[in-house]
Symmetry: C2
Subunit: 301 residues, 2 copies
């Protein structure tokens, strides 16, 4: 029954075993997005704002914010992005960087209880990130790799998770505030990648009593029709007990899969969220916005 | 590692723990299909033939054949439908009736090893159906209800399954030839329906070593966007270990969900089936047939 509570200034949400799945929007991340990277470097954050609004509009419950741009002043950029996103949305944020000073800068301007993304089992990283998390009373994503890299053996990955949870406890961070990422590998390269994750999620939940998250899209790397694979993976991961994922809510197929899995899991009371979203039959695949536009024009339905 | 082998005259397939999920096409069933019922009653089986071909074309691995039309000569109709479907496709069939004489008539004309749909835990039904199954060397779907009806308690449903497996053994039918239907209830009415099925499937697999099937669409009864719920349910059921379902392969969304779950489960070697189906990018949602038509006309891509 573990709940990980995160919040913005105005809104609190719980990532939890018996709750609807938490979608953490992944779009505000310049990695692999040249235009966004260049704009942010030049101080143009308009796309960050647009991405924040679009993702929340499409169903993100939290947003991941990353400003990892080579040779840029990442701490300053991340702090600015965090402040901007908090000024236009009220969802809690995941503050995402591999640079400790950037996490620090992001946390210093953050209003509420953030999710810090991330710590690994590497000694140096544990000792740099966990005190920051503790100081700000944040929660933290724990990634199951350490100095030896990412093990293909799920038992090794599980032991890394346990190590991180134990270290966190030393800093006064409870297991409820450690959200474990079991690491999703591409299924095209490792045929057991899916089953490994599901087995890990079950153990993380049963033995460590922790919530879990992942970069869901990794599963489909290199394959065609990636949304199809991602959707199936998310449903199966939710069935295995995963409680959140960093993914792209702009893909309706992915949001539908998550909402459908919530219904099937009994985590959408009276199917109310599902019915609200899908009750209006759409003629010819017409989407809600165009239906609304047509209504405003006085068209018949 | 249980395999349930079924066959037609020319083709054998295995429903199994470590195999791609088996889709059993549900369309050849006059229940709720007034036009089909009326045509079949009058001896017009053209729609049965068309439905058989369409379902196999869309990815069905087996077909369910039902001729349950009130006040009609069901044994004769079912036998005719079975013969017809076997003459136009080579997938194994599930012979579906609540009337024992109809099952008998279907089995008598069937070429290969059929799946008999179904037996329940009702004493009378067990004693009528199991000898037939044994006589024809068939496999059988075992539905988890008995004289007391369908229990909402999954432990009771499990015990019905165990009873059927034990009775089948008395007739020389192995557990591998009993495919258990845990009974899928509408999630809109019973919030625990999904979790119950997943828990049952795990027990059926671990304790009884049996394959499983279900009428997947029941889960979404009464809800909007049923394919969305059905797809999520199937992925989660496959994750829990379900090995087949009686469903509608004409819905691309459902087939995609099953194929995606096979990939994620590591049951699509080298993702070959997925890649074959989805590798061609479709411009503007264009489907394969219209692309082909355009090519024949010499259009550019």
């Amino acid at each position: 029954m573990t709940d990980t509570i995160v919040s913005s200034a105005k809104r609190e949400i719980a990532i939890g075993f018996d709750r609807p799945f938490t979608i953490i929007g992944e779009r505000i991340n310049p990695t692999g997005r040249k235009i966004l990277a260049e704009e942010m470097r030049q101080g143009d954050f308009s796309r960050v704002e647009a991405d924040a609004l679009a993702q929340v509009g499409c169903g993100a419950h939290m947003l991941d914010v990353n400003a990892g741009i080579p040779l840029a002043d990442e701490p300053a950029l991340l702090a600015r992005a965090v402040k901007l996103v908090q000024s236009v949305t009220d969802v809690p944020l995941s503050i995402d960087s591999s640079i400790v000073d950037a996490l620090k800068a992001g946390l210093e301007v953050y209003e509420g209880k953030a999710l810090v993304n991330s710590v690994t089992g590497e000694e140096e990283r544990l000792e740099a990130v966990l005190p920051l998390v503790a100081k700000h009373g944040a929660a933290v994503v724990a990634i199951c790799n350490d100095e030896t890299g990412i093990s293909e053996d799920p038992d090794v990955r599980f032991e890394v998770a346990r190590t991180i949870v134990n270290h966190a406890a030393d800093y006064g961070i409870t297991a409820a505030d450690v959200v474990i990422d079991p690491l999703v590998m591409p299924i095209g390269a490792i045929g057991q990648a899916g089953k490994q994750v599901f087995a890990l999620v079950r153990r993380i939940r049963q033995e460590l009593k922790c919530n879990s998250t992942c970069g869901a899209s990794n599963i489909s790397f290199g394959l065609p029709n990636r949304h199809g694979i991602n959707s199936a993976f998310l449903c199966m991961a939710i069935g295995a007990g995963m409680t959140s994922a960093i993914t792209n809510p702009l893909h309706g197929e992915v949001v539908q899969a998550v909402m459908g899995a919530d219904v099937v899991n009994g985590h959408d009371k009276d199917c109310a969220r599902w019915i609200r979203r899908y009750r209006e039959p759409t003629a010819g695949g017409e989407d809600a916005p165009s239906r609304l536009r047509r209504r405003r024009r006085g068209g018949n339905r």
